[in-house]
């Protein structure tokens, strides 16, 4: 129960924060097609957040809503991966973060579609269609920019190097992960690594980018120990709910 709630928060907070980051690009991206595509990705992620946090609120059973969870918890209560709270950086950095995430997100949802919990399976199946497209798109752009100009290659390489240490957290399990895995609700995080690595290797190779050798992994997001960036995200995101408590919007 407790582990199930934790699992749902980890997922819902992750899609929420990544959706926030992606939405920061609205109207500021390098091409009109990208404005449209990014808004679409953000929209999908926010939609998934509504489902995951909605289920979390239901599982918690304290009468809270998805909005309460999104807007009325402070940073230390958030359970998102550190990767998704990293600043956007340049557009290549944003794309690389998206690709590294999508490749994992796709495998995760694929496994979740077979969850022993029917609600989880349903949400996952719905999200999987969206995320398959996200992955297709981010893979394609990583390849084209990696194998583009010298500058675009350099930017993608720098992004990869900067973000690599934030990918390990996706695959590290704690006792809560193991509990939901044992219950058949979710896969063991470690079990997703091989498929993720295969996707990443394949795409990076086409992008003429070397897979970084380092295996060091930043951790903490899943237990509420974040980077300094999350506090600023939440201050902005939660302002109206905090400043006008109890209002209906």
């Amino acid at each position: 129960q407790d582990a199930f709630l934790e699992f749902l928060l980890r997922l819902g907070d992750t899609t929420l924060i990544l959706g926030h980051r992606v939405s920061e690009w609205c109207g500021h991206s390098p091409a009109l097609e990208e404005d449209i595509a990014l808004a679409n990705v953000a929209l999908d992620l926010i939609g998934q957040t509504q489902m995951w946090l909605g289920l979390a609120a239901e599982v918690e059973g304290k009468g809270r809503t998805a909005d309460d969870l999104a807007y009325l918890r402070d940073a230390w209560d958030f359970r998102n991966l550190l990767l998704v709270e990293r600043p956007n950086g340049d557009f290549g950095h944003t794309l690389m973060r998206q690709f590294l995430f999508d490749a994992w997100h796709f495998e995760l949802l694929n496994a979740l579609a077979a969850s022993t919990d029917a609600r989880v399976g349903e949400i996952a199946a719905k999200a999987l269609k969206e995320v398959a497209y996200h992955l297709e798109r981010s893979s394609d752009l990583v390849i084209r920019l990696g194998d583009g100009t010298e500058e675009s290659n350099r930017r993608m390489r720098e992004a990869l190097e900067a973000l690599w240490a934030y990918t390990g957290e996706m695959f590290t399990a704690d006792e809560k992960d193991r509990a939901v895995a044992e219950a058949g609700i979710a896969p063991d995080p470690e079990s997703l690594r091989a498929a993720w690595e295969a996707t990443v290797r394949d795409v990076l190779e086409q992008a003429t980018l070397a897979v970084p050798a380092s295996t060091f992994a930043h951790k903490g997001g899943k237990r509420g120990v974040h980077t300094e960036h999350l506090g600023y995200i939440l201050a902005e995101m939660q302002f109206l709910q905090r400043a006008y408590p109890g209002s209906s919007w």
Partner: protein
């Protein structure tokens, strides 16, 4: 009028659509490029004032709706640039004219969005005024423009309803929320009236554009229609239009109302609106910062083409 021009005008008068590859007067082409281009620019600059509240939307649902709306605006920009391209001007050329200040966008987007209620008021008033302008343009004489307008109008009226729904929620909410709604109306009322442009009496191009069916109604007609439509909506919300002169005129079957401060309008057009520099600056920065991205994609496409045709390339 030359025989060609006469035949052209007769086609328009019969209500035929002009298609890109058909003959058209240079003035028609130029006027259309300017008008469609400005409209396209307005859509993409128009992402910014609403984009300003996406990260601060007060609920997940409102955030999703706002994201979808801003995405639609970018989509409208795309349709319109495509329509303009059929007239022989590329999107990049048009953007460059925008960035160098040689083409305009709707001056309404030079006003800031200062509270969440502005997300309601922009949908209600700004999209409302835009629709008022655009609905007749579905019947415009240039085929691609007309078809773009038909698609756009459908989505815009959806946006307007969403905006009005936000206003309803605010007006039915706490006193603070209602005050926020009134404040948004106060700030956006006159800028919305300005969206129809100065009185036709002062407009030189109008007659020709109307003959060409590029412009379908006079500015004053549309403004009157907008006021007549909007006043009862404001009443329903329990909000006060910030115009002490506003009153029903039984005789003309419409409201009398105060003119906006046109000196402010010309100030904003001249670059001195509250946000002109921030808006254009944001677009130019997006474009300049993204140059490497666009160049990267082009370079990749060239490499891929060369790989596909290795013999032809030698």
């Amino acid at each position: 009028m030359s025989p060609e021009e006469r035949a052209f005008q007769e086609r328009i008068d019969r209500g035929e659509k002009i298609e890109p590859k058909e003959w058209m007067p240079e003035g028609y082409r130029k006027t259309l490029i300017r008008q469609i281009g400005q409209h396209a620019h307005s859509e993409i600059v128009g992402q910014l004032p609403e984009g300003n509240w996406i990260t601060r939307a007060p609920t997940l649902e409102r955030k999703a709706i706002l994201l979808a709306k801003v995405q639609d605006e970018a989509g409208h920009g795309l349709y319109l640039y495509c329509a303009a391209e059929t007239l022989g001007v590329s999107r990049d050329e048009l953007m460059e004219l925008l960035h160098r200040g040689k083409m305009k966008y709707s001056s309404i987007f030079n006003y800031p969005t200062l509270t969440w209620a502005d997300m309601g008021a922009v949908g209600w008033l700004v999209d409302g005024a835009a629709i008022m302008n655009q609905v007749p343009l579905q019947r415009t004489s240039f085929g691609p423009y007309s078809r773009a307008m038909i698609r756009i109008c459908k989505e815009e009226s959806f946006h307007q309803r969403q905006g009005y729904a936000v206003m309803m929620k605010m007006c039915a909410g706490t006193p603070q929320q209602k005050a926020m709604a009134q404040d948004a109306l106060n700030r956006l009322w006159y800028p919305s009236l300005m969206m129809f442009g100065p009185s036709d009496k002062d407009s030189v191009h109008s007659a020709q554009s109307m003959a060409w069916k590029i412009k379908m109604n006079t500015n004053d007609e549309l403004r009157q229609k907008f006021v007549d439509q909007t006043v009862p909506q404001a009443e329903y919300l329990g909000l006060t239009i910030p115009d002490p002169e506003l009153k029903w005129n039984e005789e003309k079957g419409g409201y009398d109302f105060s003119e906006p401060d046109w000196s402010e309008f010309f100030d904003v057009i001249a670059g001195n609106g509250p946000c002109n520099k921030d808006r254009l600056g944001a677009r130019v920065k997006a474009w300049d910062d993204g140059a490497w991205f666009r160049e990267g994609l082009v370079a990749h496409a060239e490499k891929a083409a060369a790989r596909k045709a290795p013999l032809a390339a030698e």
